[in-house]
């Protein structure tokens, strides 16, 4: 890594080969990202290119994932953001870290709460529109009833983490 002059700290990326990831990043947009990374360390790969990666192509939440991990929230990612994303998604990441980022992904309006509107959008993405609006509403109501501890009608990060970390099937 040092020969390319890149300040990537392998100790900070959990078990993920930083060099391999850099080459993948570079392969996404070879014109933008040169092999000599130090000349332009803040270069951003646009969202359209990221969402065409095979790992993200079919994920219904790819837009939200790119938005959460990008610095400005618009989906264009630098190398740092790219590494962040892969390190959180890797199997070695601890569950509470994943739960934290899952919360941010489900929070569509970025207000630090999952409100019923966020839930509806999540449901639509999850079920590809196969549930009727009435059923979607019922499910959202049930979810808020079950998980909302402080009864304010929306889920905060604590509610979410509390519920998810007790679910043994989550993010195995």
């Amino acid at each position: 890594m040092n020969s390319k002059g890149i300040e990537l700290d392998p100790e900070l990326s959990p078990k993920v080969e930083s060099a391999w990831l850099f080459y993948r990043f570079q392969a996404l947009a070879p014109q933008l990202v040169t092999l000599d990374y130090t000349s332009n360390p803040g270069v951003k790969v646009p969202y359209e290119v990221i969402s065409s990666m095979p790992e993200l192509k079919d994920n219904p939440f790819r837009e939200r994932i790119a938005q959460v991990f990008s610095q400005d929230g618009d989906g264009n990612m630098t190398l740092d953001d790219f590494l962040d994303m892969f390190s959180v998604m890797s199997e070695m990441a601890p569950r509470d870290l994943k739960a934290y980022y899952a919360f941010k992904i489900y929070d569509f309006n970025n207000d630090d709460y999952i409100c019923p509107l966020d839930l509806e959008k999540t449901m639509i993405k999850l079920t590809r529109g196969e549930l009727t609006p009435e059923e979607v509403g019922l499910v959202c109501e049930k979810v808020i009833n079950e998980a909302d501890v402080d009864n304010d009608g929306k889920l905060s990060l604590d509610d979410f983490q509390n519920m998810i970390l007790h679910a043994p099937d989550f993010l195995r």
């Binding site: 300040e7 700290d9 994920n59 999850l126 079920t127 549930l131 499910v139 519920m163 679910a167």
Partner: protein, 663 residues
């Protein structure tokens, strides 16, 4: 408030990281929910702080040094064991393509495989190796049929009980002696005790993870919605998972709706009658199978004397395996007639019926072995039982192989090429897991009569793992029914414990305490019963003054009724106390929950009052800034000495202290 919290959190984090070794420090920084840049900043700060304090001499306490070494050791060993888990990658791939339910079957299989490896190592080191150093000559020739029947030349090998000597093995020229009798009984006893405790431990762990819910999380709809697996990458798998999720949610909703719907009495009555009829038919079929096995088994001996062919011994196992294969299919055909309101109940009912069938077949076979073969004055009856079990396991293995290859492979070809409407077969988890439990029960019974059996079972399990995996990848779809993987796993581990393991303990207890071992072969030849080996040993020990404490423990603790009575009483009392503690904690959870709701209401009330106060202040104040203040979001914070502070969400300010009397 966020920024203030963040800086405080950062400072605490840096302070806690200074004294840790580099490896642990990096691990903790890695696991923080921060971006790469922030992590790098923290790392730099920690390094700077460390350099500052490195100039002063740090003399770590001996205890803290020990702690750091211990933590390091723990992390290294856990990483080592993780890397040993060879199947982890395979399991990951299966989990991503087929979901957690199929993955749970394969993890169950690998768990049983590890169990068997452990039992093989134990048996091998303590029983088989010593016997191998003093072998008896084997006069019979090897024909290929032995692999299947276990008889013939295999009879006089370490495979069976009859080969083991009852004497103490001595080597010329050395003083050490190895008492085979005691070794045999103690090894198997110890192995069973370890199995017992590890089963209990796994059961308790799964119980704790799956069934301890606060009263709020009743249906798990929320868990379903948020349980999207981000590691699924193939388009087909994604679509499948979405479809499954939709189905599960619809079924959840129908359960909720069903509670509000009252079915008419006539419909309920007809459903009840159908259920009753189905149960009677299934129990009847199970009893009929058991009767068939019983008659065949009891006529087996005469039949075998007439037909001297070795292959004739395979008839009984063949019949048992046919029953095990076809009767469950018959049970699942009930599903066409029998309808369940809650789909989950259907899976449970199938599992209960199948396990009843399998355990009754094993029960009848044990009855036959212990009541008929053992008292039949045959020479070496234990070896005969061992051979029977070997044949059953082999036949079962062959049937499972054929089932995977022909059942799933052919079914896929028929489903895709010939009758397109049938479709690709689904992987039937319940049937496969119950097969595993059945073979494991047989194995546990067989360990006493054929000590090398775990080795053979290990090989068959390994082959089956790979065959099932390949068949799965090539042929099957993941199951579309509702399947709460972790709850089902708890049920399966419980079934493995009761009736499987407890039944094995009963059978072995009867063998050791009641039956007379054969007079001419085996490590217990000549004794009136196997337990007399222990009695004899205690007698010998009571003549040696240095071992009298062992004799005392045996006579007064293990042999006395009062001790067990008192022990049971203590265990019951502790259980009762824990139960009361749990009840108390449930009440506490409810109260705390109410307290959280009330605090939320208090907060809203105070914020409203505050806004009203600010409005009234604004009227007396002509500065436009006050209006800006009203539009900013405020939050309230209680300080340690009981004062209430208003904090601006956007800036970190000291906050205005609110005088509660003004409100």
């Amino acid at each position: 408030m966020n920024i203030a919290d963040k800086t405080k959190h950062e400072e605490k984090l840096i302070a806690s990281l200074i004294n840790l070794p580099t490896r642990d420090r990096n691990k903790i920084i890695r696991n923080q929910p921060l971006t790469m840049q922030e992590k790098r900043k923290i790392k730099k700060k920690v390094n700077m702080e460390k350099q500052k304090s490195a100039n002063q001499s740090i003399q770590l306490n001996y205890c803290t040094q020990c702690l750091t070494h211990y933590r390091h050791f723990k992390s290294v060993t856990s990483e080592f064991f993780q890397s040993l888990d060879v199947w982890q990658r395979t399991l990951k791939i299966i989990g991503s393509k087929f979901g957690t339910s199929v993955l749970s079957y394969f993890s169950f299989l690998t768990w049983l495989l590890k169990f068997n490896i452990f039992s093989f190592i134990v048996n091998f080191s303590f029983i088989i190796i010593p016997q191998l150093t003093d072998p008896k000559p084997n006069n019979l020739s090897f024909t290929g049929l032995e692999l299947l029947t276990g008889a013939g030349s295999f009879q006089q090998t370490v495979l069976y009980y009859g080969f083991y000597t009852n004497s103490t093995i001595k080597h010329k020229g050395s003083n050490t002696s190895y008492n085979m009798q005691l070794a045999y009984i103690f090894t198997i006893g110890l192995y069973l005790v370890i199995c017992f405790f590890s089963l209990l431990y796994s059961m308790a762990c799964s119980f704790r993870n799956n069934f301890i819910n606060p009263h709020v999380y009743s249906r798990g709809t929320a868990k379903l919605v948020f349980s999207w697996d981000f590691t699924i990458t193939r388009e087909k798998a994604v679509k499948l998972k979405q479809r499954n999720l939709t189905t599960e949610l619809k079924e959840n909703l129908s359960e909720i709706r069903h509670e509000n719907v009252i079915t008419p009495l006539k419909q309920r009555l007809s459903r009840f009658c159908i259920h009753l009829a189905a149960w009677i038919v299934s129990t009847g079929v199970a009893i009929a199978c058991c009767a068939a096995v019983y008659f065949l088994a009891f006529n087996n001996m005469k039949f075998l004397r007439e037909h001297k062919n070795q292959a004739a011994t395979l008839l009984l196992p063949f019949l048992v395996c046919c029953f095990n294969l076809f009767v469950p299919l018959f049970y699942s055909s009930f599903g066409l007639v029998e309808k369940f309101e809650i789909p989950r109940h259907q899976v449970l009912v199938i599992i209960i019926r199948n396990i009843f069938l399998k355990i009754s077949i094993i029960g009848i076979l044990c009855y036959y072995w212990l009541n008929s073969i053992a008292v039949s004055h045959e020479e070496c009856w234990e070896t005969l039982i061992g051979q029977d079990i070997y044949r059953l396991l082999m036949m079962n293995f062959l049937f499972t192989l054929f089932d995977s290859i022909f059942g799933e492979f052919l079914r896929r070809i028929i489903g895709t090429k010939l009758i397109k409407s049938l479709g690709v077969p689904e992987f039937d988890i319940a049937r496969n897991v119950l097969e595993l439990i059945y073979t494991q029960t047989l194995l546990w019974i067989g360990i006493f009569f054929a000590p090398l059996l775990p080795f053979i079972h290990m090989i068959t399990l390994f082959i089956m793992l790979n065959v099932k995996r390949i068949s799965l990848m090539m042929n099957c779809l993941p199951p579309s029914k509702v399947w709460r993987a972790s709850q089902m796993m708890t049920l399966f581990i419980f079934l493995l414990f009761f009736p499987s393991f407890t039944g094995v303990l009963c059978v072995l207890a009867i063998t050791v305490w009641r039956l007379k071992p054969s007079a001419q072969c085996g490590p217990f030849q000549g004794l009136p019963s196997i337990i007399h080996a222990i009695y004899g040993w205690i007698e010998i020990l009571s003549n040696r003054p240095s071992y009298l404490w062992v004799v005392w423990i045996y006579r007064n603790l293990i042999g006395s009724v009062h001790f067990f009575f008192i022990l049971t009483l203590i265990v019951v009392i502790i259980t009762y106390l824990y139960w009361q503690i749990i009840e108390g904690r449930k009440i506490m959870i409810k109260l705390l929950h109410e307290q959280i709701i009330n605090e939320g209401k208090d907060k809203m009330f105070l914020v409203e009052k505050l806004l009203k106060l600010q409005e009234s202040q604004k009227k007396t104040n002509t500065f436009p800034l006050a209006q800006e203040r009203r539009e900013q979001e405020v939050s309230l914070k209680w300080s340690k000495d009981g004062h209430l502070f208003i904090l601006d969400k956007r800036e970190w300010s000291e906050g205005t202290k609110v005088n509660l009397e003004d409100m």
